[in-house]
């Protein structure tokens, strides 16, 4: 979004909400820490959130996500926001939903076992179209070892119909960048967005460059300018559109119910209204799939073998690719910035151009099933999995691939 637009949005919001303006005057620290840092991943997610305008955070202690809460508790009050340590994750996610409907840019962070508890809050966020951001630092069941085992849950966790947006950073820099993007997508599509972090990158310290504040794009939800009489809270301009937002306490008396509701927000069991609602809600994300689920291509132009990965596993894939290319093998890597919504078109294109598509992931082999489905038998597929609490080494990837004639 253009800077001018952003400022206009901020001005409008400021005029609407007196309380917010007062909070703004209480800023004691810089919201955006522009410059070069050597920063831990969990901290980078916090700085990304703040740069995107986060003003509400709720979290419950869990390793390895605690540094997110700890830094938020220090930084957020100093920039005019509110920090809440919920009595449990159920409190955290639902407080995030409440704050979001009140107009906040709200976030929670947890790790896998805590993520389980978020499902009903996410389901509510989907249904009432509340922008929310969740950081899930994936860890092994009961231990803080590295894994990508939540890859399916982050899409399919909540009951009911939805198309979840899940961003998978692969570095400390991307934990910053993707958290900014998560807020922007949440605001644009009025939906929960998951930042799928991992033990590996969350606890790692790396070089992080935070741009100047005016170089960071910030998107705000579209606040309605209609009068309460003409406003329909769940009416969008198309079958995949996003309704305008009215917020709480401004005289629009809107019902934000998880129950089936019509455009007026009335709780209504009308099969047509239900079908219309749950056509539009997944469609507003799915129709924008190509825009949301960007991919990065490394060496794919002349490749016959593609390694597909998301999150931290992209890193050893590129190292492995370099070794193979030095040996004359035409291998490339496709990095999925957002595993969900599934980048259908990108994988389809890949399958048409490759002899072999190998999915590399740090679990028993989960997302690979989706990749194989999308390849539809047009090429060979392979699974390179590791499920022992540690990121792949390039050598392990090379060894897994050595059995395939396409690579030999």
């Amino acid at each position: 979004m253009e800077k001018g637009q952003r400022e206009k949005g901020q001005r409008e919001k400021g005029q609407r909400e007196k309380g917010q303006r007062e909070k703004g005057q209480r800023e004691k620290e810089n919201r955006v820490l522009s410059g070069v840092h050597f920063m831990q991943g969990n901290y980078a997610a916090v700085e990304g959130a703040l740069a995107a305008g986060c003003d509400f955070f709720a979290g419950y202690p869990i390793t390895p996500a605690n540094e997110v809460s700890e830094r938020m508790s220090q930084r957020l009050p100093a920039v005019g926001g509110v920090f809440l340590q919920g009595e449990d994750e159920l409190c955290s996610i639902n407080a995030v939903a409440g704050a979001s409907l009140a107009g906040a840019k709200a976030m929670t962070a947890t790790a896998s076992a805590g993520y389980d508890y978020l499902q009903e809050g996410l389901e509510y966020g989907v249904a009432v179209e509340a922008p929310m951001v969740v950081v899930d630092v994936q860890r092994c069941r009961g231990e803080n070892f590295a894994t990508q085992a939540d890859i399916m849950q982050v899409h399919w966790g909540p009951a009911g119909d939805h198309e979840m947006i899940v961003l998978a950073p692969s570095s400390v820099q991307e934990l910053f960048d993707f958290t900014v993007r998560a807020f922007n997508l949440a605001e644009e599509y009025r939906t929960p967005v998951i930042v799928l972090s991992e033990t590996t990158i969350a606890l790692m310290r790396e070089r992080l460059v935070i741009p100047e504040a005016d170089k960071i794009p910030v998107v705000n939800r579209k606040w309605t300018t209609k009068t309460p009489e003409e406003y329909l809270p769940f009416k969008a301009d198309s079958e995949w559109g996003v309704p305008e937002f009215s917020g709480l306490g401004r005289g629009y008396h809107t019902i934000y119910s998880i129950n089936p509701h019509d455009e007026k927000g009335s709780i209504e069991w009308d099969p047509d209204a239900f079908e219309r609602l749950y056509t539009r809600i997944p469609a507003k994300v799915a129709r924008n799939r190509k825009k949301i689920s960007t991919v990065q291509r490394y060496g794919l132009d002349d490749a016959k073998v593609a390694l597909v990965a998301y999150g931290s596993e992209v890193r050893p894939c590129i190292d492995a690719m370099d070794v193979l290319r030095e040996g004359g093998k035409k291998v490339g890597v496709m990095k999925l910035d957002a595993p969900w919504p599934f980048p259908e078109e990108a994988i389809e294109e890949l399958s048409k151009n490759m002899d072999l598509v190998a999915t590399v992931e740090m679990n028993v082999g989960k997302y690979a099933g989706e990749i194989e489905r999308a390849c539809r038998g047009r090429c060979r597929t392979a699974r390179v999995t590791k499920n022992r609490g540690l990121i792949h080494s390039p050598e392990e990837i090379l060894e897994s691939l050595s059995g395939f004639e396409e690579v030999r």
């Binding site: 390793t63 390895p64 790396e206 990121i391």
Partner: protein, 185 residues
């Protein structure tokens, strides 16, 4: 594009409370902020870190670092015998080893052609009034030997990562280690 060839992997090891991770963080901070290098610092966690052992790996490179963990290290810093025993096998041939001479006495498993540096870091730190600063004595010595980073950069990184009340002690410890490396001690 490969980082494997250009990067240096340094493993800091010891037992919990020796400031092992802090050493890696301070060095990484100094290299990234003041020398414009790339660095990736990781550490043990979970039950791997129990039993008192502690390790942190710092990979340093002129290019962005991909795989953040190496099977073999170019440099091993060991502040305790059990840590040395655990990690010495990951030290590559022709690498460098830094140990606390009082706490790591059995060096029998050192690989060939290793540049060995054994210094009384804990003893020097005790002399400065707090043996907990042994990690910084070692870091100062390390900086002097490797020329990776200047004292002023370490000081600046310390200020970012250490509470003010401990700043002076840590700076003194770094200086003491640095002086030792120059044969001035």
């Amino acid at each position: 594009m490969s980082s494997a060839t250009k990067a240096t992997s340094i493993r800091f090891s010891g037992f919990g409370g020796q400031g092992i991770i802090l050493s890696a963080v301070v060095l990484g901070d100094a290299l990234v902020i003041h020398r414009g290098l790339y660095a990736a610092q990781t550490q043990s966690y979970g039950s791997e870190a129990r039993g008192g052992q502690c390790q942190s790996e710092l990979i340093v490179s002129e290019k962005p670092i991909l795989t953040p963990i190496r099977a073999t290290n170019d440099i091993l810093v060991a502040m305790f015998q059990t840590a040395f025993n655990t990690y010495v096998d990951s030290l590559r041939k022709g690498g460098a080893l830094f140990v606390d001479s009082e706490l790591v006495k059995d060096l029998s498993r050192v690989p060939p052609e290793t540049a060995c540096h054994s210094i009384p870091a804990t003893q020097i730190a005790s002399g400065l009034g707090n043996k907990m600063a042994a990690n910084m004595v070692m870091l100062g010595y390390f900086a002097g030997v490797t020329n990776m980073v200047g004292l002023e950069h370490l000081d600046s990184a310390l200020a970012e990562n250490v509470r003010e009340q401990f700043l002076d002690l840590n700076k003194k410890a770094i200086r003491a280690g640095f002086d030792l490396s120059l044969g001035k001690a």
